[in-house]
């Protein structure tokens, strides 16, 4: 019995370990390739373990491309989108969770229904709208459409619903008006949830490709995914350099994920489970 248990344990570890290797390998390959030249990346022999590291790709990336500008653009867009998105969804979520007002249920159903329409349906009208407003190639073109996130509203509503009404009523008796209740009572309580919803909005904005491809066309205003992919269409494709950029742009998210694992997973999954 005992030895059978041990064998099962080892087999299980072996299976999951192999799957984990597959899951991590492309990631490993990105890092290794970023320190290699093109002939080394496309070597005739299998060379899984690097023998030497060259930093030329990283130097070239900053010298010959606009990479630092692309990353800066991406940071500006995603941070602003997240801040504005949290503002919108906290207040809207609070209103849906704690008040009764005219047409509340109809409005909420509209929000839920619109979540089911694929985003790509909106892309042509949004392009036209931004062109008419003169916002193409400005940060606003990407911040405004992505700061409204029905899913984040839904998340915040779920979180705020769990706060007992008694707490809000006692604050009212102490003389808080409704705005003060949101800022002084609600916000501090839902801080972890704000983190989770924030990560959700941030990931959507940081990883998007299609909208930036259309709305940010000038070389200086590109976001990093579009910029990096554009390096692939050059006459001579330096794959090592593209991998260097890929690694640098992924690194902040990996670090954030390792530090805030719990909130990361909550932000990306919780709303779905509660739904």
């Amino acid at each position: 019995m005992n030895s059978r248990y041990m064998t099962n344990k080892i087999i299980l570890f072996f299976i999951v370990g192999t799957m984990a290797l597959i899951a991590l390998f492309p990631f490993y390959w990105m890092i290794v390739s970023s320190f290699r030249t093109n002939p080394e990346i496309f070597s005739t022999k299998l060379n899984l373990i690097p023998k030497s590291f060259i930093f030329k790709n990283y130097i070239d990336l900053f010298k010959t491309t606009n990479f630092s500008r692309w990353i800066l653009n991406s940071i500006i867009v995603s941070v602003a989108t997240t801040a504005l998105g949290l503002f919108f969804s906290t207040f809207a979520g609070y209103a849906f969770a704690k008040y009764n007002f005219f047409a509340k249920n109809i409005l909420f159903v509209i929000v839920l229904l619109m979540m089911a329409v694929p985003r790509i349906v909106t892309i042509i009208p949004i392009f036209k709208l931004m062109a008419n407003l003169g916002l193409i190639n400005t940060y606003w073109a990407l911040i405004l459409p992505f700061a409204i996130n029905p899913f984040a509203v839904f998340l915040m509503r779920q979180y705020i619903k769990n706060i007992p009404d008694d707490l809000l009523d006692s604050a009212r008796i102490d003389g808080c008006n409704e705005l003060q209740i949101v800022i002084r009572i609600i916000m501090p309580i839902i801080k972890p949830s704000l983190g989770a919803a924030g990560i959700f909005i941030l990931m959507m904005s940081w990883n998007d490709y299609l909208f930036p491809l259309i709305l940010m066309t000038s070389k200086d205003m590109m976001l990093f995914p579009v910029g990096l992919a554009s390096l692939k269409t050059l006459y001579v494709v330096e794959y090592g350099m593209i991998m260097a950029g890929s690694f640098l742009s992924t690194l902040p998210l990996i670090i954030a994920f390792l530090l805030l694992q719990k909130q990361f997973i909550a932000g990306l999954t919780e709303g779905a489970i509660k739904a």
């Binding site: 248990y5 344990k9 299976i15 999951v16 799957m19 984990a20 990631f27 390959w29 990105m30 496309f42 070597s43 005739t44 022999k45 299998l46 899984l48 919108f88 207040f91 809207a92 209103a95 849906f96 008040y99 007002f101 509340k104 409005l107 089911a116 329409v117 694929p118 790509i120 349906v121 892309i123 042509i124 009208p125 392009f127 036209k128 709208l129 405004l144 459409p145 029905p150 509203v153 009212r172 008006n177 409704e178 705005l179 003060q180 990883n207 490709y209 299609l210 995914p225 992919a229 692939k232 991998m243 890929s246 742009s249 992924t250 990996i254 994920f257 694992q261 990306l268 779905a272 489970i273």
Partner: protein, 308 residues
């Protein structure tokens, strides 16, 4: 210069004497104030565009000259347009295969990662989630070198293991679409496994123990006790993953531009090309609505099947 305390003091006096806050933010008006910023933006950047593209889908328009109403003309031409039909077929085929394999692996991995027998569970869960943090365009670029036909690492590994190592992962029209499905699976499996694990942990241990006491073997416990309880999670995984799968764009666009010869073209690529390269805005809008219909039908079929 007034000090910060001074400003705060003046503000407090005005605030309390005039009772601006109380008047504006009483219980009746507040919900409207709170919901207005979101809803105004929601109408401008979500509801109105959805309505607009619906209206445009019934007209011929290049974006500059006058719109011409054509009724269902765009929809009729779409179903006679070979490029569109191939794109639609690719997307439906890829989505179904992707969702089925994704669900199978996520369930299996969820069970394995939830097993008390497994050592280093926390480490494994972290490693499987890491691909999720890599953005899709970056994933596509990484797989560009992994899938390279001449001396790419995947072919090198295959020939190292004694298998044919010259497969044209991206340029063979019969394989290209499945290479892209594989890439997408790699990124998504860890994410959806989290749902399965959460679902498994919500099942009370006593029901499973009761099954074992009644003499059910492991497979029977899984089949008759665990899987039925996971149903809502399974439905969610199918619906959520398929909505994204039907909108497939980044990977085939970055890797192949939809090629070779439409082999990896998708409806999203078709929309992008028609709207932003050929300037057929009405036509592109119509194809976006066909895609929406396909997604909805798929979701309804799922709900129907899962109901019983």
């Amino acid at each position: 210069m007034p000090s910060i305390e001074g400003i705060q003091y003046t503000y407090q006096i005005i605030y309390h004497k005039t009772k601006v806050g109380e008047k504006l933010f009483d219980k009746k008006k507040s919900p409207y104030f709170f919901i207005a910023p979101f809803f105004i933006m929601f109408v401008v950047f979500w509801i109105w565009p959805i309505a607009q593209s619906f209206i445009w889908s019934f007209s011929k328009w290049d974006g500059i000259s006058e719109k011409k109403f054509v009724g269902f003309g765009n929809y009729i031409s779409l179903f006679n347009d070979n490029d569109f039909l191939i794109s639609l077929k690719n997307v439906i085929l890829a989505a179904i295969v992707y969702v089925v394999i994704l669900l199978a692996i996520a369930l299996l991995l969820g069970f394995l990662l939830n097993s008390a027998m497994l050592k280093g569970r926390a480490f494994f869960r972290t490693s499987f989630f890491i691909p999720v943090t890599v953005s899709l365009p970056v994933v596509s670029l990484i797989f560009c070198i992994i899938y390279a036909p001449h001396n790419g690492v995947l072919n090198n590994i295959l020939s190292f293991l004694g298998m044919p190592g010259s497969i044209k992962w991206l340029t063979n029209p019969k394989i290209a679409l499945w290479s892209i499905v594989g890439l997408r699976l790699w990124r998504a499996v860890g994410y959806y496994t989290i749902f399965v694990i959460a679902g498994l942990q919500a099942i009370p241990k006593s029901t499973i123990e009761a099954g074992h006491i009644d003499g059910a073997n492991t497979w029977q416990v899984v089949r008759y006790i665990v899987l039925p309880q996971l149903k809502p999670i399974i439905v969610y995984v199918i619906i959520a993953s398929s909505i994204w799968a039907f909108q497939l764009f980044e990977e085939p666009w970055i890797l192949n531009q939809g090629g070779p010869v439409n082999a990896t073209s998708t409806v999203a690529i078709f929309i992008y090309r028609n709207a932003f390269q050929f300037f057929k805005l009405g036509y592109a809008s119509a194809s976006a609505y066909v895609l929406t219909m396909v997604i909805m039908i798929f979701a309804i079929i799922n709900f129907r099947i899962m109901k019983d």
